[in-house]
């Protein structure tokens, strides 16, 4: 089994061709998909993260009528893999789309600078 570290929380397992949580080794979703599809997803009000002491139309926090924080967790262990601040209803971003064939080729080369887990 060869897993390649893509982010601090995500590996790609080139044998199973899955996104894998690097914290608990739990499978998420096929690696040619958006890894967020394999996550547990929650919508949070910005005031749950950004404290604002003032009661005004403009605060020390994002406006919850304009945007929410979308959090993506590993569905197995709960680690937060990513989050996005999005206007209400805006499509989720497919932010990482690795060329898997090139990744395999790179791994099989004589020298590469990827971090691989056996």
């Amino acid at each position: 089994m060869v897993s390649v570290e893509i982010t601090p929380y995500l590996d790609i397992n080139l044998d199973s061709e899955m996104w894998v949580c690097s914290t608990c080794d739990g499978d998420l979703v096929a690696c040619d998909s958006n890894y967020k599809i394999g996550c547990a997803v929650a919508e949070r009000d910005p005031s749950e993260v950004h404290h604002s002491e003032i009661d005004s139309d403009y605060k020390f926090a994002p406006d919850s009528n304009w945007c929410k924080i979308i959090e993506f967790y590993c569905p197995h262990c709960g680690v937060m893999i990513e989050n996005e601040y999005l206007p209400l209803g805006h499509p989720i971003t497919h932010d990482i789309d690795i060329d898997i064939d090139k990744l395999r080729k790179k791994i099989s080369g004589n020298s590469h600078n990827l971090r691989v887990k056996p």
């Binding site: 570290e5 893509i6 982010t7 601090p8 929380y9 967020k36 599809i37 996550c39 547990a40 997803v41 929650a42 919508e43 910005p46 749950e48 993260v49 950004h50 404290h51 604002s52 002491e53 003032i54 005004s56 139309d57 403009y58 605060k59 020390f60 926090a61 994002p62 406006d63 009528n65 304009w66 945007c67 979308i70 959090e71 967790y73 569905p75 709960g78 680690v79 937060m80 893999i81 990513e82 989050n83 601040y85 999005l86 206007p87 209400l88 209803g89 499509p91 989720i92 971003t93 497919h94 932010d95 990482i96 789309d97 690795i98 060329d99 090139k102 990744l103 790179k106 600078n113 990827l114």
Partner: protein
Amino acid sequence: MLDYAAIQVSMKGWMQTEPATKKELEYAAKIPPGMYEVYSNKLDVALDEARTVFVRTGVSSLLRSGDLVVGLHNAKGDLVTASCGTYIHAAIAQLPVKYIIDLHINGNSNVKVRPGDIFYTNEALVGGLHNPDQIAIMPIFFENELIAWSSAAVHQPETGAIEPGGMPQTATSRHDEGMRLTPIKIAENYEIRDDLMDMMVNFISRAPLMQEIDVRARCTATDKLRHRVLELAQEIGPEHLHGLFRKMIDAAESGARARISSWTDGVYKSVAFVDTTGKDETLLKVALSVHKKGDSIHLDFTGTSPECDGSYNTYGHGVAAFLATYLYPYVFYDLPVSTGTLVPFTFEVPDGSLLNAGPEKSVCNCVYLGRSVISLCFDAFTRLLYSTDPARAVAAPSAHSGGGSFKGTNSIGTKVADGFSFTLNTDGQGARHDKDGMNAHGFFYSPWGKTNNLEDFEEHGIFLGLTRRHFNDAHGFGKYRGGVGTQNVNVVLSGPVEVTSRGKGSRIPHDNGVFGGYASTSLPGISIIGSNALDLLKNGIDFPVSVREMVVDKSISGDYRFERINRSNRTLETGDIWITLSSGGGGFGDSLERDPADVLSDLNKRLISEWTAKNVYHVCIRDGVLDLNETSKLRTAELQSRLSRGTAYGTFSNTWSKQSPPIPVSTF
């Protein structure tokens, strides 16, 4: 006749290096061993010297802060190397030089390029980002042969626009922006022309002395570099100099391609949202897809909103400048600052979008729009880089800062128009893969710049600085937190004074965190009108000067106003308080993984509140002491809460997609 459309087409071609001539390649091949290393270094030293001269001869705040660039170009206009300052112009400094070559050397213009000339421009269509960017350009002749060009650019904090400060929030077209000069020959035979200087001073009548001194500073810097280049030409001959220039540009390109080749092929995306056009609230989108393949990168901005009717637009070449602002300090830190470095990059920027606006649009606040592009670069490139080079993976720096401008009369009766550059030059850096971002690390547009001294600011006699300090709880939280931004509180000592402030993000932030790190927060624009702060000071009565305490405590009397961070021009009177803020950088990684000892340290340094320690980091601190057992329980409970509130992606999408913001996102 000036043809805007043709200029915009030409600019796209001029972003790339000019093809090498046979002679240049021959000269490059003949460079003897050691000459490249020694003389490329000598050129860099000459540029650094010219930059120092530039800083010491000018007066305006951003110039004194070092937010500038001096460039050396080959005879065809390509940037060979530069001394920064700001990297903005490192990507686009060649554009006005090539414009001059195209028009006055290769074209039918009756203006000729001769030894001793200096050209001067601040027209963003032909280079620069917006008209505060004033650029001096000098041809360098050796024995009547044009061998090179020198350029010197810095942002001027006054342009004669409809509001003081050169970046009016209410601008809706180029006609609101004040002076816009296509390149004019301001000096002939090594002498600055009085008539053209008077013309500029007349345009910039809010700060005439500042304009004249800074024009001379730019010209002095270009001439200083010219002298040094001629000394080198004398020393090694012009052929070797041509060869050296070629080799430096080619080395920049091959170095960039080698670096890019080592990264992981794929597509990396990010989106950012802009909540203002300058004059109005709105919801604009900037979208970036980074396509990395082999040794080249394609940046596609498809999905970006149409140009807006305010001033938060940019011309097409601006995206290269914003990219360079990210690349040079973080990824290409060891490569030459040269046109060659950006040759592996291609761009798709939709015509008529915010990032490729038409010539009549106002672009004077493009740098605030550009902060979104830079944030996207941090986002997308960090995702690209982490798998092969995690040390280069960094969250976005602060992008909300409320810099601003003022116009008044100083203590000796001279008219002054200058900037509140402190919060700009003390932005927080984004968090890194193994450490927090640097607090108040500087201005990400100008990593080499520094903030001006409070004494420099106060010596106008217009404002008294009440505080310049870190601003707590505004940065992005995470395993590693973003660098903390700053708060700047000033009271008017001698009104009336006109003020304005700039920025964005009071509704929605966009200097994202990465890999589960949070974004920095939104910020309001705050002022206290009719305050009694000067009376309190006079009577020795203490009051809090930390903004969060100030607005809660309200021991200073007055009318507390909370607005958008970008506030249009208004007049303040003696005693009024004007506050500018910078938010801090984005976080990196899951905040539940932050070392509890670092949370306690942040609390003790007043960088975060008890609320944040408890609700974001889930750390238990009792009477200033960490309770690690309780912290472990709290964090385990939060992990369980996440699993309870998190739903499957499909279920979430069904509910989420039915919601909408109060203003729809502007799309084509």
